[in-house]
């Protein structure tokens, strides 16, 4: 082979190899055993981080001078649900946080009840799965205070947070077709586009989503998240009602959002309405432990 032939041969081999590899990777990820294999990394991350972390390992707390000028709201920033809008209109005076599931004494807390419980304030860094970070000062009630008042049953293993915001619809007229892909957000920043589209692709009609009972044939898929008891009883795990010394704005999750400082942002459920203690996550949503987890993201988001 001459030098030129050799060069052309090698370039062709590299290009074909690259294309085949890319297609191969995509096919592998989409196969039956692909996701299970790829999940091994998450399992290793959880195992190693749990070895390295104790209940006393705290996320760094920053001085107030480090607080971000704007705490970037992401995911849902204005829940379209009528029931939520009614709550917001009443300034959450009628809000009740329900605590149930595998507990000895189911509880119901208004915002004033929660504010009367012991509180914790922490200025921490919020890391979005997309890569950016913001620093905010959160005040709220430690989740442990709430769970201890309810009392966990012996089978309790996970704490599930059910939220007010609809992100998309299962079934119904908007599924499939040209807009089908558009109606499944790939990551938190894409959520608003999907919600606006679900409201009729018209930002002015924003707010057309169903109340508690769907008025339409569409079934709302609302946000939810879950954590295990190790994280639930960590001292920095709080249900926050204040951001930077003021009541939590709607865009950041009013009236109540979870803060879970040793994991990524999508674990930190906004618009928390109900807490359910369970033994298994299998029967909730698609069974992976959260809205994003059901769409391929890791349940353990410590990295």
């Amino acid at each position: 082979m001459s030098n030129l032939d050799r060069r052309r041969f090698l370039t062709t081999v590299a290009a074909l190899g690259g294309t085949a590899m890319l297609a191969g990777c995509d096919r592998f990820a989409g196969s039956a055993y692909g996701p299970r294999t790829l999940k091994a990394g998450e399992d290793a991350n959880l195992f190693v981080q749990r070895l390295l972390l104790s209940n006393a390992s705290l996320a760094k707390e920053f001085p107030d001078s480090e607080i971000s000028a704007v705490f970037k709201p992401n995911g849902t920033i204005d829940p379209p649900d009528k029931a939520y809008k009614a709550l917001a209109a009443s300034n959450f005076s009628t809000f009740k946080l329900e605590v149930g599931g595998l507990v000895e004494r189911p509880q119901s807390f208004g915002l004033a009840d929660l504010r009367a419980l012991p509180s914790r304030t922490q200025t921490t860094r919020h890391d979005c799965v997309e890569g950016w970070s913001c620093i905010g000062k959160w005040s709220g009630v430690p989740l442990a205070e709430v769970l201890n008042r309810a009392g966990l049953k012996p089978q309790a293993r996970y704490v599930v947070f059910h939220c007010a915001d609809t992100l998309e619809y299962a079934g119904g007229g908007l599924e499939g077709g040209k807009d089908g892909a558009f109606l499944q957000p790939e990551y938190p920043s894409a959520v608003r586009h999907v919600q606006v589209a679900a409201a009729g692709n018209d930002a002015d009609a924003w707010g057309g989503a169903p109340a508690e009972e769907p008025e339409e044939t569409r079934t709302p898929i609302r946000y939810y998240e879950s954590i295990d008891l190790t994280d639930a009883f960590h001292p920095q795990t709080i249900l926050a009602y204040d951001l930077n010394g003021k009541p939590l704005p709607v865009s950041n999750g009013a009236p109540l959002r979870l803060r879970l400082e040793r994991q990524l942002g999508y674990k930190q459920a906004k618009y928390v309405m109900r807490i359910e203690v369970v033994e298994s996550l299998a029967r909730i949503g698609d069974g992976q432990g959260g809205y994003w987890e059901d769409r391929g993201y890791e349940w353990y988001a410590g990295i």
Partner: protein, 284 residues
């Protein structure tokens, strides 16, 4: 590994000498490392695409990124791909910021042919990235342990005294692409050794540590780690810069493999056997 296989017939001619250059552990580690780095790079570009901007410090300063890859519309209404570095903008339409994905011009920082998965999919990219990060670290640990115990690492990356004294000579050899023959070809040259040393002891460890510093879990376990990098967003920016340096290393590495006898180099890293030309032309 301990016993060298017999010299394959046909590789040794009177003018050439076959040496057993790469033990099995090093060959396997090399190719696993190459595959892992490629998957880490391409899944990393997909992860970057989810928020295609870099910052310095602990938090993001959204209005003043150190680097951003975005798209915009020019005065004539045409969509453009734009890279912003330190306030200066560059038109990168077709490759960065705006490129073809399945025949359609799409807003995406890095083009679909460079990412795993090829379509927009942060969740799957993260799974590829973390699985192969483990592969890289475990493979690297085996390589380092073997290299240290066997003495291979010292021979491969620590320049000998005479090599340091003739540093200029090695630079000249590289500039003229005229590499040593015979006895001298049995060891790596000084630029080669120092480059491998910088990659093995510098770039790759920094890459892994900067990656770990982005983990909120690791930041709670080892609070010093993220401080070493000057904050989480700095760690992310450094992770990106070092990725670029590793790509630069691989390009130079592959070019030198090509110009210094591709088949001989490939045979060396596949079978272990490498031909040394006693004099005359470079072996092909």
């Amino acid at each position: 590994m301990a016993a060298s296989p017999a010299i394959p017939s046909g590789t040794a001619t009177p003018r050439r000498e076959a040496i057993y250059r790469h033990p099995l552990v090093i060959r396997v580690a090399h190719w696993l490392n190459a595959a892992s780095l490629l998957i880490l790079l391409m899944s990393g570009l997909q992860i970057f695409n989810a928020h295609p901007a870099l910052y310095w410090g602990a938090k993001s300063t959204f209005d003043t990124p150190a680097l951003a890859i975005t798209s915009d519309t020019d005065a004539k209404g045409n969509a453009r791909g734009i890279v912003t570095i330190g306030g200066r903008t560059f038109d990168t339409t077709g490759v960065l910021g705006l490129s073809k994905d399945q025949g359609q011009m799409t807003d995406r920082a890095f083009p679909s042919w460079s990412t795993i998965p090829s379509g927009q999919d942060l969740a799957t990219a993260r799974r590829w990235h973390f699985l192969f990060a483990w592969a890289l670290v475990i493979n690297g640990a085996i390589y380092l342990l073997y290299g240290l115990v066997s003495g291979q690492l010292r021979r491969r990356v620590i320049p000998d005294g005479d090599q340091i004294r003739d540093f200029g000579g090695s630079v000249r050899e590289h500039l003229t692409l005229h590499f040593p023959k015979g006895e001298e070809a049995k060891r790596y040259n000084v630029l080669q050794k120092l480059t491998y040393l910088a990659v093995i002891a510098g770039l790759l460890p920094v890459m892994v540590l900067a990656g770990l510093a982005m983990s909120p879990g690791m930041d709670a376990a080892w609070p010093w780690l993220v401080d070493v990098f000057g904050g989480r967003q700095s760690a992310r920016t450094i992770h990106f810069i070092v990725a670029n340096l590793l790509v630069l290393f691989v390009i130079v590495h592959v070019v030198l493999v090509l110009v210094s006898g591709f088949w001989n180099n490939m045979r060396g890293m596949v079978t272990g056997w490498f031909a040394i030309e006693k004099d005359g032309a470079t072996p092909r």
